[in-house]
């Protein structure tokens, strides 16, 4: 007897249909075999399926069972095929029909219940695109799948329940209502470690992070240990606007592929803040492995990638960031497959000025030689620095200086207030780039700059004068225009004025060459 149960395989963010063909033969010795490039986890599903069926009080058929996964040349990994295999065997024993236009995936427990399985969101997306109307997934993964409208998602608790459902008790597995994306206007519902008003002093650095958040600019902070670089970076998510619907779907896709959505979780609506340690491996950071997985930079898609102690990162990792910083995606090529993961993130880097860290410190002395300092600063390559729009130095503040100032509200703006301004600036950018593929000032290419950032004569004069005086490179020149555009957007003005350009110059790279 031959039974076919449709399921899917996820290759990166792409999904391919997999037919699980189950043959129960009366001839031959009883046994259980899986073929079709099944990985270790798939092969082990034999034991899970057998035990789960037995714990559901169904006799496991004493027949020669062969499972084929077609197409046979695509490698399959993971535990999601437990459900379709078990269902195939059960349909033969209990004699029910597998409904048409349905997809199944889920991992089984020995007691017959289903466990949270990664990739449910991707499967739902595939179901919608390929005309499958029903999707059966574990209950814990149902919310994730239900984020896609137009597919009936059935949350399954255990296989016995599913069998009753197919045997005529439809109500046993009620269809789940689609989960609707809700944009929270005022909350970012993100748990932020620090509010901007907790950061004392650092007015200029705070202003720079505001500009970075408004235009999606990359930013690097250089300063001595304890000057508040990390605190500023951790306060940053609090001033970022929430994800819009399209962005939310993109991010959820990546998280679904990497198994990053928790049981019961659904759409990801907050901007991600990823801060990998500098001992992270290349594959862990940019993605990869023999079966390429998304790395930290992809998990930071549409969010923030915070690299603390930036010059401690190995050269190979820093250079690997160049392509994603430029293109917003990364293609991982392996001999068997090529997978493209989006990686459009805002880079926030922090670094010490020298190996001991105190080169810029007003009180403590630095005991590094000039050679050491130069070597240390050169660890960040020019091409990477060139892709960072805002450069600021963060000086340690004297805590005692602020004791009286604590209540001075003018200087201690809460994150919420800053976020309002950031959101207004982002709205301006969205309106401006409506027809384009880009959505923030930082993504502007030279052609966009020509089109959207026309400079008045006096503004251009200032910029030219500055580029001579501060030795700005051609790329820095363009960066200054982008930053000035964001500053103008923050101010709510249509044209870039001299003042906007002058402020932008404050954040040009020249501000950090130590003598």
């Amino acid at each position: 007897m031959l039974i076919k149960v449709p399921s899917v395989v996820n290759l990166g963010l792409e999904t391919i249909k997999v037919d699980i063909e189950i043959n129960l033969a009366n001839k031959g010795l009883p046994g259980f075999e899986i073929v079709g490039l099944a990985g270790k986890a798939v092969d082990e599903s034999k034991e899970r399926v057998r035990t789960a069926i037995l714990s559901s009080d169904v006799d496991f058929p004493q027949k020669k069972i062969t499972v084929n996964m077609a197409p046979a040349d695509v490698p399959k990994e993971g535990s999601m095929y437990d459900l379709p295999i078990a269902l195939g065997i059960l349909s033969s024993v209990l004699e029910f029909k597998i409904p048409e236009k349905s997809l199944f995936l889920g991992e089984l427990s020995f007691d017959g219940s289903l466990r949270h399985t990664k990739g449910a969101f991707l499967a739902a997306l595939f179901a919608k695109e390929s005309g499958y109307t029903n999707l059966y997934v574990p209950k814990d993964s149902a919310n994730e799948a239900a984020a896609i409208k137009g597919v009936k998602v059935f949350p399954v608790e255990d296989i016995a329940q599913l069998c009753r459902h197919f045997l005529g008790f439809q109500k046993d597995v009620p269809e789940i209502f689609p989960i609707v994306y809700k944009q929270s206007k005022n909350e970012n519902n993100v748990v932020v470690e620090f509010d901007m008003k907790e950061v004392l002093g650092q007015e200029q650095a705070k202003r720079a992070t505001e500009i970075a958040a408004a235009g999606g600019h990359n930013i690097i902070m250089i300063g001595s240990p304890g000057s508040g670089k990390t605190m500023l970076a951790r306060a940053l998510p609090g001033i970022l606007p929430p994800l819009n619907e399209a962005e939310s779907l993109e991010v959820t896709k990546i998280f679904s592929a990497s198994g990053g959505i928790p049981p019961g979780g659904s759409l990801i609506t907050t901007r991600q803040f990823r801060s990998p340690h500098h001992t992270a491996s290349l594959a862990g950071l940019v993605g990869g492995g023999s079966k390429p997985q998304p790395g930290e930079i992809s998990l930071a898609h549409r969010g923030v990638l915070f690299l603390d102690e930036f010059n401690e990162f190995p050269r190979a990792i820093m250079e690997a960031l160049r392509q994603p910083l430029e293109d917003g995606y990364l293609t991982i090529s392996r001999s068997r497959q090529r997978i493209t993961y989006p990686a459009d993130f805002m880079l926030v880097a922090s670094a010490n000025p020298c190996p001991c860290g105190y080169a810029l410190h007003p009180k403590r002395s630095c005991n590094c030689s000039q050679n050491q300092i130069q070597k240390y600063q050169k660890r960040i390559s020019g091409p990477i620095l060139d892709r960072i729009d805002l450069h600021i130095s963060v000086m340690p503040v004297d805590a005692t200086e602020f004791e009286d100032n604590q209540k001075n509200s003018e200087f201690l703006e809460p994150s919420d207030k800053i976020r309002q301004r950031v959101m207004q600036a982002r709205a301006k950018q969205e309106a401006r780039f409506g027809a384009e593929t880009i959505c923030s000032n930082s993504q502007m290419k030279n052609s966009h700059i020509k089109k959207y950032c026309k400079l008045a004569k006096d503004v251009e004069a200032i910029l030219r004068q500055a580029s001579l005086k501060f030795n700005l490179s051609a790329r820095s020149y363009m960066k200054m225009i982008k930053v000035a555009r964001t500053i103008a957007d923050l101010a709510g003005e249509a044209e870039i004025s001299v003042n906007h350009m002058a402020e932008a110059l404050q954040y040009s790279p020249k501000n950090f060459e130590t003598a």
Partner: protein, 300 residues
């Protein structure tokens, strides 16, 4: 090609020979290798100028101001060719067309630190001397720096310490100078600065604190031949007074004349948003009124 002068030679600087008698003669350099034009006149009025490798902006400005006047008036500036204080002294002398002697801690055929090749050339081009007691490509070592210091002090009638931390090489030069009975000058610095502690110690011990080159010139009995105007902001201020600029700029210049400040500190002081302040600072920098170094702003 490097040449050498033996201690027995007539050309060997007398002042150094005399000084080394104070120490044991065996410690003195028997042979001085040199590059450049060996002219005995250059040793007539030597002033050693030494300072911290981690020279601050203030230290550099002060060095430039004093060395420029001294060198332009005919005093030879002797120093150790290290980066920081030494480099500032040599460059200031070279820039005003004065003579300078660099005493190397390494072999005469080596340029150390290599990043100062340009300065090395300039010293020779302006009629200065490069001196070393080590032949060929001898690498600098910890003790050669100290050995070098005794030549720097020995060649000079007086030593000027620009900036020095406690237990620094500059204080070693000063201690040699004391042994040789040389006059010691020191530039006073802010008491909060680490590299003012050494000069402060010297002043307490009897070194003469100086505010301009006149004291040095008096010591050498030379009259000031050239004076560089250092107070640039006067022109800037007059332009401000004519009402061409914003009052914030005026406030900034007024404040920076007294002490260098960070942007954050000024924003707090003047109670203006940092965005507005940044704009003003950039514009003023472009106009050349102020300068920025390591995050702090200075009057030009």
């Amino acid at each position: 090609m490097a040449e050498a002068v033996e201690i027995t030679s007539e050309k060997y600087p007398k002042i150094l020979k005399v000084a080394l008698k104070e120490l044991q003669l065996s410690l003195g350099p028997k042979k001085l290798y040199y590059r450049g034009n060996w002219d005995e006149k250059i040793f007539e009025n030597c002033l050693a100028v030494v300072g911290s490798r981690r020279l601050t902006y203030y230290g550099r400005k002060a060095t430039e101001q004093i060395v420029t006047q001294a060198a332009a008036s005919g005093i030879t500036i002797v120093s150790g060719f290290m980066y920081g204080g030494d480099e500032a002294a040599h460059s200031a002398a070279v820039k005003c067309g004065g003579k300078t002697i660099a005493v190397m801690p390494c072999g005469i055929d080596l340029i150390h630190p290599p990043s100062q090749k340009k300065l090395y050339r300039e010293i020779l081009d302006t009629g200065g001397l490069i001196i070393s007691e080590y032949p060929g490509f001898t690498q600098p070592q910890t003790f050669t720096y100290i050995q070098r210091d005794r030549i720097v002090a020995g060649l000079s009638k007086a030593v000027l310490v620009t900036e020095a931390a406690l237990e620094s090489g500059s204080l070693i030069t000063a201690s040699y100078a004391k042994k040789f009975g040389r006059k010691i000058f020191a530039i006073p610095g802010p008491i909060t600065s680490e590299v003012s502690q050494g000069t402060m110690k010297l002043i307490k011990e009897g070194a003469e604190p100086i505010a301009d080159a006149k004291d040095i010139l008096d010591f050498f009995k030379i009259t000031l031949k050239f004076s560089k105007k250092t107070a640039l902001p006067a022109s800037a201020l007059s332009e401000l007074r004519r009402g061409k600029c914003f009052t914030l700029e005026e406030k900034i210049i007024d404040q920076l004349k007294r002490e260098p400040l960070k942007a954050d500190e000024m924003a707090r002081l003047f109670a203006v948003p940092v965005a507005q302040l940044g704009t003003a600072l950039s514009l003023m920098q472009l106009k050349g009124f102020i300068n920025q170094d390591n995050g702090k702003y200075y009057i030009n």
